[in-house]
């Protein structure tokens, strides 16, 4: 039955069939080749996680293709086999497509997310790239800063430092211009000190209190400033827009004064200003890392500059010191020359003064030997004693110069203290009686009779003080008192620096000389002990004197660890001179030794050392004969030799003393001393070795001590001297005469 609603099955259209045929064929072809392509490309790429899907997809496509292929045979009437094959293919295709469709539901989100992940990774990679770029730039900057610092620090010259900074900054950052503004001396302006490109022909200043400058100074960061700011107008105005400008402060540290030193320090911190300008025709901008670099450099520059300034300062100080040293050295040498000249002068004057003294002494001694009445004898003795004292004084003028050099030493010895005072009294009485002055002496009963000290100088001091008392008194009396100073009285308020320490072996002798003379006004008292300073009152102008006396006394007293001062209530009220000196207390001596210690009267033929065997070595015949006679006179048994070899041959243990003349060149005193020491090393009765020399210098004395000699005697030797020296020597077994 035919139905009108449906199109009747027409006869198969041949054209349509042909096209269908062809299309099916191509579809099948494509369907077969797509999986092949897929497989090929997947095989090419290593990473593809969805092979299973691909297989499925491939299967689906293949089956679809197969279906379409088989379809080719179904256009024409076909057998049942073909139909069943077709049906199988279709069923399979349906199966696979459904499975694939189901699979895709799961897979497609995954595939989509792969894409997202890929995008994410790409972004991350871009970011990392940027960061890498940044780090590299920073490293670059750091390198630049290090290099700059190295350049800056490699010199201590401030100009070089600043120059280098600008040059290197200019190079590193490719700057158009770079400038340094320094604060001026007054601190109120900034002066253009260094630029990179220009050569600074004009001094160009800018007041410091500009808001922009203040802003820059207030922070340690580099700040962008307007190119129109006064500090930034470094280039002549061009047609191009000026590039960006940055300014940074450079702290000038405390010690760095770029100008002269006598500039007072400012309490506020001072800064210099560094201005950097980018090239004007580029569109460059200041990057953070560049600003950081600039800040770092500014700090380094500050440090380097202060180092340079310190160095300059210390160089200047050193030069000053060197100059001062040279000047001081010169002054010292001049002073030494002056001292030497003075000493030479004194020595010569000394000699000139001694010659007439000798005449006086010689003649007085001769006079003493003649027939004299007792009064005459007394007078002559006084003359002798006075002239001896004068001779001593002359020596002491030379001593004073040695005192000042500090080279004087006291001649310590035991002496009779009472005798000293009596002697002074005897000497002063004639002059006092002429002036009708009454002189009284009172010695405390507890004053020891004998003391250890420098008798000669003590007497000189007492005599000087008493002499002054007599000199400055026209009438009245002089009272001399001497007693042992008690510890309580020793601490006198008038002499606060004087703190004596009493001990068992010493006592302090206090001597007071009170006179009723013209006195001293209180303001003159400090000058009394100054050398050559004289009291200018009319009374004293007639008295003469050189003004040295008290100065010398003061020095002697100091040497004796004492103190001397003068008290006076004023002009016309007299004055009291007081001094305290430290003297030793001699130990209990037996009567036998005592006479040897005291001054013995000249006694010809007195044998002090009967039979003392001595050896005299002197190459000079005359001098040898004299020394021999001298010693023989003292009772010694003298053997003489004329050379060092003879001396060594003749010396024996029987000789108690060997006298060697060592001012003769060629005498090997060292060798002989050594040999003698060797020869008598075993037995303890070695003869004492004493050098006789005319050399008064310390070096000779020290040499003798050093090579092992027991004593040194200065020529010329008088009989008395030899006697006392020998006795000292034999007792102490050592004697080095003070030089």
């Amino acid at each position: 039955m035919a139905c009108n609603c449906i199109e009747p099955q027409g006869p198969p259209d041949d054209l349509l069939m042909k096209y269908q045929y062809i299309s099916d064929f191509f579809i099948a072809l494509a369907y077969f080749s797509i999986p092949l392509e897929l497989i090929y490309f997947v095989k090419k790429s290593a990473v593809f996680p969805y092979r299973w899907v691909l297989v499925q997809f491939g299967a689906f496509i293949v089956l679809c293709g197969a279906t379409h292929l088989i379809n080719l045979w179904t256009f024409t009437p076909h057998t049942r086999t073909v139909a069943s094959v077709m049906t199988t293919a279709k069923v399979l295709t349906a199966l696979v497509s459904c499975v694939t469709a189901l699979m895709l539901v799961h897979i497609i989100p995954d595939l989509l997310s792969v894409k997202t992940r890929e995008l994410f990774l790409k972004n991350k990679a871009a970011e990392l790239d940027r960061e890498m770029g940044l780090i590299r730039t920073q490293e670059e900057t750091g390198r630049h800063v290090r290099m700059l610092t190295h350049e800056i620090r490699s010199t201590l010259d401030r100009h070089t430092i600043l120059r280098t900074t600008l040059v290197e900054l200019g190079r590193t950052l490719s700057l158009e211009e770079c400038a340094l503004w320094m604060p001026t001396r007054t601190g109120l302006e900034l002066q253009l000190s260094y630029t990179l490109r220009q050569q600074n022909p004009v001094v160009y200043t800018v007041p410091i209190h500009h808001p922009v400058i203040n802003q820059v100074f207030s922070t340690n960061h580099a700040i962008n400033i307007s190119p129109n700011c006064p500090v930034a107008r470094l280039r002549p105005a061009g047609k191009y827009l000026p590039g960006e400008v940055v300014a940074v402060r450079v702290p000038l540290l405390h010690l760095s004064n770029f100008h002269i030193n006598d500039w007072p320090e400012l309490s506020t911190k001072r800064y210099a200003l560094m201005v950097l300008m980018l090239p004007s025709d580029s569109a460059r901008q200041w990057h953070i890392h560049e600003l950081e670099l600039v800040e770092a450099v500014a700090d380094q520059v500050a440090v380097a500059l202060s180092h340079a300034a310190i160095l300059e300062e210390s160089m200047r100080a050193r030069n000053l010191l060197m100059e001062q040293n040279v000047a001081l050295d010169l002054a010292r040498r001049e002073a030494e020359t002056a001292i030497h000249a003075r000493n030479d002068f004194l020595a010569v004057m000394n000699h000139e003064m001694r010659t007439p003294m000798h005449a006086i002494i010689a003649l007085s001694s001769l006079l003493q030997e003649t027939e004299l009445t007792p009064e005459q004898r007394l007078m002559v003795e006084t003359i002798l004693k006075s002239s001896n004292l004068l001779a001593t004084l002359i020596n002491d003028v030379l001593d004073l110069s040695r005192l000042e050099d500090g080279s004087l030493q006291l001649d310590l010895g035991t002496f009779n203290l009472y005798a000293v005072f009596k002697e002074v009294l005897k000497l002063i009485k004639p002059i006092a009686s002429v002036k009708k002055l009454h002189v009284s002496l009172s010695l405390a009963p507890d004053l020891p009779e004998y003391a250890i000290g420098d008798e000669k100088r003590l007497m000189q001091t007492i005599l000087n003080v008493v002499g002054n008392a007599v000199k400055f008194s026209k009438e009245g009396s002089i009272a001399i008192t001497a007693f042992v100073a008690k510890p309580e009285t020793l601490r006198d308020s008038r002499a606060p620096e004087f703190l004596p320490v009493p001990s068992d072996n010493h006592f302090y002798l206090r001597v007071q000389v009170k006179d009723s003379g013209c006195g001293v006004s209180p303001q003159d008292i400090p000058n009394l002990f100054t050398k050559f300073a004289q009291n200018q009152s009319t009374a004293t102008r007639n008295s003469g004197g050189s003004g040295l006396g008290l100065a010398i006394c003061k020095r002697f007293v100091s040497l004796m660890e004492g103190h001397i001062w003068i008290e006076s209530e004023g002009l016309g009220k007299g004055c009291t001179a007081i001094f305290i000196v430290k003297l030793g207390i001699p130990e209990r001596m037996n009567e036998y030794k005592l006479p040897c210690m005291l001054k013995m009267p000249i006694n010809h033929g007195h044998t002090a050392f009967p039979g003392l065997k001595v050896l005299v070595m002197d190459e000079n015949g005359v001098s040898r004969t004299v020394t021999k006679e001298l010693l023989m006179h003292l009772g010694c048994d003298v053997t003489t030799v004329g050379s060092s070899d003879e001396c060594l041959r003749s010396v024996s243990h029987k000789h108690k003393v060997v006298f060697m003349d060592i001012c003769v060149p060629g005498t090997d005193s060292h060798r002989i001393t050594d040999r003698i020491h060797e020869k008598f090393a075993k037995c303890n009765e070695r003869p004492l070795i004493v050098a006789l020399t005319g050399n008064t210098d310390k070096l000779t004395k020290e040499n003798c001590m050093r090579i092992g000699m027991d004593g040194l005697i200065l020529k010329p030797v008088s009989l008395d001297k030899m006697r006392s020296v020998l006795s000292d020597l034999l007792e102490h077994r050592v004697l080095f005469e003070g030089i």
């Binding site: 000798h358 001769l366 000249i602």
Partner: protein, 149 residues
Amino acid sequence: MDLAQLQRQLVDYKTSLYHEDFLDEQFTQLQELQDENNPDFVVEVVSLFFEDSDRLLNELTKALEQQSVDFKSVDAHVHQLKGSSSSIGAQRVQKVCIAFRNYCEEQNVEGCLKCLQQVRHEYSLVKTKLEFMFQLQQQILSAGGSIPM
């Protein structure tokens, strides 16, 4: 001349010698050493001095006449002379010797020759004076007096 006059003359003469620096206290010391045990000590020593000095002066003259002067040996001789003269108390001679030594140190031949001349001069002076003094002493002694010290 009588004894007293002679003695006075001697004293004056001696004083003048001291005063003019021909002698110094060392000579006095020598005189002190003379006593009964050794009555001719001073004369002996002085004669010794004369002998020694004559010899030394000859040596010096010879040494300074050489083409190349040996200053070391000249110095040694002068040193000896200085020593002897100081032991005697011949002060002037001693002084010239000191100056002489300085010239020797400086190796100044001119100066040395000048000093040599001076030394000779001083030495002959002091020799004459001492000899005269001894003559006076001898006269006093032979007149039976004692020598005033």
